[in-house]
């Protein structure tokens, strides 16, 4: 019996497995993350890192005030982030609320940029399962090819792992061909041990990506949390052979931060994850800073925000 089937057969088996995972040394994780953040990435390496980071951006707008016009503008930006420079790559995806999928799908048609939608009563996840499944099916039907779901943190923290597991399985089934990113909302999980358990739980249930946060809770993505998640996907691959992606989201605003994450990906999960199919940044303001740094490298002088679109 595979690992996945074995531990998923009952609440007791899940609990035994998740609580049998080694504990996380929090101080060690923070120091490791801080140490990796001191690596110096310059010149050609920096140019490559910036382009890779741009290709990994899930350009996100998740506001109550989103309008079709804003979503279309953001789509145009994802396809051609820097209209002045044709060598600038496209972003990985656009991430919107379900109501905006049809607008985004129209704007992105034929561009190769993925269309992600949050679903399952984002950001709280506090809705009945059938509502969440309907939400997911509607998003896929409207044209989303990536679904960002939130886990039921209340159930997870109460120790009802099977409930969380089964819900992810059900949503994954509702996704059909669409990729499923599972948001752990690490800011509400309290400990790194919980982050490790939630990562494994999501991966066992069939997630294609594990994502740190909704961006609506502070703290959002942090380096130590992402480190623990990268270790989890590395170990999951060793155990099962399946490769799961990681997406830190929220709070990553500068190119410098993004490069720190890339260094950590390379040093923790390995170079196989340095690919937009396996690592993403959920961000909105990050893209402009990446473009400014890219322009600085190309022109030799510092760029200013006046020369890039507001979003």
């Amino acid at each position: 019996m595979s690992l996945t089937a074995e531990v998923a057969r009952s609440q007791g088996a899940l609990r035994t497995f998740l609580h049998g995972l080694p504990g996380v040394d929090q101080v060690g994780a923070e120091q490791r993350a801080a140490m990796l953040g001191t690596r110096s990435i310059k010149t050609t390496a920096k140019a490559q890192a910036l382009d890779l980071a741009i290709r990994m951006v899930d350009l996100t707008t998740l506001e109550g005030s989103d309008t079709p016009g804003k979503v279309r503008a953001l789509c145009a930006k994802a396809v051609r982030p820097d209209p002045a420079d044709p060598t600038c790559p496209s972003a990985a995806a656009i991430c919107v609320y379900p109501a905006m999928i049809s607008v985004a799908a129209e704007a992105l048609r034929g561009s190769g940029v993925h269309l992600a939608s949050v679903a399952t009563a984002f950001p709280s996840g506090q809705a009945p399962l059938d509502v969440k499944l309907a939400d997911t099916r509607a998003a896929v039907a409207d044209g989303a090819d990536e679904i960002d779901m939130v886990i039921k943190r209340g159930a997870f923290l109460a120790g009802r792992y099977a409930e969380v597991h089964d819900e992810i399985v059900a949503v994954k089934e509702a996704c059909g061909d669409a990729h499923l990113k599972v948001i752990l909302e690490t800011g509400e999980l309290a400990t790194l041990d919980n982050v490790r358990r939630a990562s494994w739980l999501a991966m066992l249930a069939g997630a294609d990506f594990i994502k740190t946060s909704t961006g609506k809770i502070q703290p959002a993505a942090t380096l130590p949390v992402t480190l623990v998640m990268l270790e989890a996907v590395r170990d999951f691959r060793a155990a099962t052979g399946r490769i799961i992606g990681v997406k830190p989201a929220g709070g990553i605003r500068t190119a410098k931060d993004a490069i720190k994450y890339l260094v950590m990906v390379n040093e923790t999960a390995g170079p196989d994850w340095l690919d937009p199919d396996r690592f993403r940044f959920g961000a909105s303001t990050l893209l402009n800073d990446l473009l400014m740094q890219r322009t600085k490298l190309a022109t030799g002088h510092y760029a200013g925000p006046d020369y890039f679109t507001l979003d």
Partner: protein, 291 residues
């Protein structure tokens, strides 16, 4: 047992940069020796790098909204407060100016007096410059047509090389009184009064980031400020090398920065309003007249 206490260990001041209201060391970790007019060693100052300049511009940009949005009356009060705190540190500045520029204590005291008076003079202009420089324009229609000066934004300033306090004050005050924020490259040979001035600014209700001071080599830092697209104006008063000044003007043209390059000003003369006006932009609005 001896009743004499042992000689006190000297407590030396570390002269650092002033960026965003904080006193960081140079990102580059470098420093350089500063000597007095007579050649004696005074202190080590931070040798600022291009990244310090970048950080300073970022801090200055972040401060623009709040500072330019403050009322002119409030800005005047804050500037006057700076003069008050300067007055309280009078003796310290006399010593530093004397060490930096040489001459007698009396001459140095005159420089400090003039610098404080200059600061007060500019503080008074905060709520008056708009009346001198703006106004209602008569137009051929039933409209009010009003012109008002607005701050340019982030101003890079290369401070005078010779006049370490009076000259410095005379380039900073006219820029910030109207709501601009500044990144100042202090005099390379005489930077200590500039750093002491930042201690005054930090304790005078001036929001962090409105004035940022870098010490180091002008030829190293100024080109990055001149070519920076997020800097709106550059004051080349302290650039003594003509070739460098020309290069900086060319670099500044990239994003149409306003450039100030006066010919060797006399800091003791009446400054007039030209420095304030050079860093303002006119906004004109039309408004229909009511019945």
């Amino acid at each position: 047992m001896s009743t004499e206490s042992p000689a006190r260990l000297a407590v030396r001041k570390t002269y650092k940069l002033y960026i965003g209201g904080a006193f960081p060391r140079s990102e580059s970790g470098r420093s350089y020796q500063v000597h007095s007019a007579s050649g004696a060693f005074l202190a080590n100052a931070a040798l600022g790098s291009r990244k310090d300049a970048r950080d300073a511009v970022k801090a200055a940009r972040a401060a623009v909204g709040k500072w330019s949005g403050a009322t002119a009356y409030n800005r005047g009060q804050v500037l006057y407060r700076v003069a008050e705190v300067l007055e309280g540190r009078h003796e310290q500045f006399v010593s530093e100016v004397k060490a930096a520029e040489g001459g007698s204590r009396k001459e140095a005291a005159a420089q400090v007096d003039a610098a404080i008076d200059r600061w007060v003079w500019y503080a008074g202009w905060s709520d008056k410059i708009a009346q001198i420089h703006g106004g209602a324009n008569p137009v051929a229609g039933p409209y009010f047509n009003l012109s008002a000066p607005e701050p340019t934004g982030v101003v890079a300033v290369v401070a005078p090389a010779g006049s370490s306090l009076l000259g410095l004050v005379s380039v900073i005050a006219p820029a910030i009184v109207t709501g601009n924020t500044v990144v100042v490259v202090a005099s390379t040979d005489k930077p200590l009064p500039a750093i002491s001035l930042t201690e005054v600014l930090a304790t005078s209700d001036l929001p962090g980031g409105v004035v940022n001071v870098l010490t180091g080599k002008v030829a190293e830092i100024a080109p990055w400020l001149a070519s920076h697209l997020d800097v709106n104006a550059i004051d080349l008063t302290g650039v003594t090398d003509d070739t460098l000044a020309k290069d900086l003007e060319v670099a500044a043209a990239e994003n149409l920065k306003r450039v100030i390059r006066p010919a060797d000003p006399d800091w003791n003369a009446d400054p007039g309003v030209s420095r304030m006006l050079a860093l303002l932009e006119i906004k004109t609005v039309w408004h229909p007249k009511g019945v």
